[in-house]
Amino acid sequence: MAGQRRRLVSNTVTAEVMQPEPAGRRWWVFLGPLALVALVLSFAIPSGRHDWALSLFRQPTRYTALSFNRAWALPGSIVPYQPMKISFTINNQEGKTESYRYVVTQTSGGSSLMLGKSTKTIASSGSWKVSTVIRPTCLIAPCRIEVSLPGHPEIIDFLTAVKA
């Protein structure tokens, strides 16, 4: 038992003495210039420069934002064939000038109908505020009015009841 205890607190636990350092090879003499050459080469190659840019700087996130302007006050009901004003904004964050086409459609009872469309080129970081009048023809509730941007996945919509 005493031998076992001694073994438990033996060299691994108690070794404290600093030993004189044996001489080693000077790897840094070779590794340093090698690393420097690799670094220079990586900047010389276009893909290398691209990788450096990805590692050093924040790259912009590209997206398009589509939103209703008076989102808190969208119409809760429509009267068929009566004009109705809607307004929305397209915001271009794609990092380049883009041509946007919007389409306004109504969907009701399984059928769809286009109510309006237009096209405009928007500069990078620019916005297009659209105010347009549509005449929904839904006769069956609920009627969904949808704004989409063909070529882009973003869609916004609202549901309305139908007044007689």
Partner: protein
Amino acid sequence: MTSTRERQSSPIYPRKQSSPGSRRSARAAKTNWWPTAASIVLVLASNVIALEGWRVPFVGPALGFWLILGYPCYLSYTSSFWRGASDGERAGYSVTVVLLLLLLAGLFFNTALPWFGIYHPLDTLPVIVIADLLDVALFILRSRFPARMRWRVLIRSLGQREGRLLVASAVCVPLVVLGATRLNNGAGDQLTLAGLACMLVTLAFLLRWQRWVREGVISVVIYLISLSALLMTSLRGWSVTGHDIQGEYLVFQLTAAHGRWNISTLPHSTYNACLSITILPTEISRVVQVYDPDVFKLFFQILFALCPVLVYAISRRHWSKFISILAVIYFVGFPTFFTDMPYENRQEIGFLFVSAGILAITNYWWTTRQRRTGLVIAALGIELSHYSTMYVFLGILVVGWIGARLLALLPWYSRRYPRSHSDRTASRGVVRYTVNIGSIVAVAAILVAWGGLATGTAGSALSAIKSAFSSNGGRSGDVLYGLLHGSAQPPQVLLSQYRQETLKQNAAAGSFFVPVALAAQYPTPYVTLPSLPLTKAGRLLTEHGIPVSTVNQDVRQGAAKDEQLFIAVGIVSIIAAAGFRRRMGAEFIALSIGSIVMLGLMTVLPQLSVEYGVLRAFQEALIMIAPVLVIGSLTVFAPLGEVWRARAATVVCLGVFFSTTGLMPQLLGGYPPQLNLNNSGQYYNTYYVHPQEVAAVNWLANKPGVVPDGLQASSPPNRFNFLAPSDVTGRQFVIPVFPTLIERKAWLLLDYATVTTHHATATLDGDLVNYIFPMGLVENSKNLVYNNGGAEIYK
């Protein structure tokens, strides 16, 4: 404790007071004027830059950090207050003292200046006054109590191996920083993997060469590797990424926006009671002048990376370099350290104070009174920084104190440890206990004074403790990593139960929520997030009949259970073996037992595992018991013989690090993705803030009706809080939504994961549970009013 020989080789020792007018003193004064002049110039420059609000890239933040933390810590470090302390320990005392002074000075200004008509006491000018006063006071003190610096001697005497280790550990930092930037830009994990591999190799060589490496160098290597491990996670995302940090950032912004900390601004928030995430980051942000999230993401990590160095210093009190380095590897390699701590900044600062407190308790160069004073000061720092850390710390002290008395009743134990009233000259086994009833009462009084009287936040802890003993509720899934874990509810069952409860709640609330009949039509099935695809190496192993997923799972589970087994074996060995007991001292053994008991309580009592988190408790316990874990592993491998047990313990320790840091699963695949290496996985889905989400919140911030009608979000919602200085009021709450509880009138924000994958996350019993979000339900009940492809807002 460091040996006499090592102390002599330390670069710092107290300067002998020379007689006035002595020639030597005059010559020293002539030659040493330039550091003082340089310091004055730097302090003045940082004053001007901060006051003028100039944003000078890199230089401005560096000078600001130098002014408020770097220089005062340097002055404290190079004074003779900490005589007898090792380099790491000295750094620990210096940093925690400066942090405590900043907290107290900020609190004093915050309370006193409004009496004199200054209603923004934490604006730039008062904060600079605090920093300048601190610098001047420490400069005067250090002039009276200097320690001679021998930096040049230290640098000149660097050995070849020491140089290699320093360079290798320094290389890890840029690798992980650039790696995080690459991942944030949507590129691959190559650089972070290289950084992790570099960390592993450096640690292996540190172990191999430890006999030729001095204490100071080991501390620096540990610091740089710890910093790399933290930055690897903290720098993920361009905004505030992570769980608790998003709530922490809210209270920081609240304080910064008002230029004043006020507990009543957010009365029910325990976060707001933590000065470490309100006053401290506000002070730092005023002088470093960086994008505010970087105060947490960068500067707090620079501070917390010191904690493993302190763990090393604590271990070195009693154990060899070899054991202490292994202990630090277990501490840094524990998943909570690098995946969760960067998201819990208040606890990071709390842990620094805990480590300093333990160092104070075990500082045998100090008298008993000095040790007790050190303990109480550290406890004050813990309480001001983080309430929960304080509860656990107090628990450890109480259990340790009781344990010490119970152990003393054992005749075979107490016979070897006669109590002595001599202090400094006594061996550790007979030193008078630091933790006595008086110091426990003092620590408890601090807790009551701040948590109870000043901030009124202790009530939540008391109710958690009460419910812990009475609750039949669930327990966190983290307990499944425990050796004696009992059982936790499967997530499917939790989700199903929650759905039924919320449907009932919906039915009882009338027309407040979407119609219950409609909500019931849309199921919310549990979903498991996909694992990483197998890599080439993973496929090769699979072809040879090795199931990679199972191997990854078993290694991770095995690592968790092995660590607990090693701790159990270690503590038994220490109590049983007289040599160990003499080495550690009765009090430290008792406190280690206290840590283990507190950890056990967290596991056994379900409510505590939900409220505090077993893994965080384990990380806190490791500050003290990491070397016990290593002793356990050496004891388990003892039959292999002296040489091979050390090798086996090293291989197991590095193997655990290889697995838990994510290096092994990333190289093989077939395991859930970790945020530090991937743009996928649980944490990425739940906590990563995408620019599209920021854009959506900014769009919503200007809309009427957001506050009265409420804002709901599909995942844990803190990341959607309004954080622009003009918007932060503390009254804008974002409510997490479960599909059955969608409010008719509220705005609803669907996050990136929900929009792109239809996966949403609910927090149930402290665990994250994923389910399929029923998009049809919102499409048929609300208007989609904002859409940018990465976030959608419904009204």
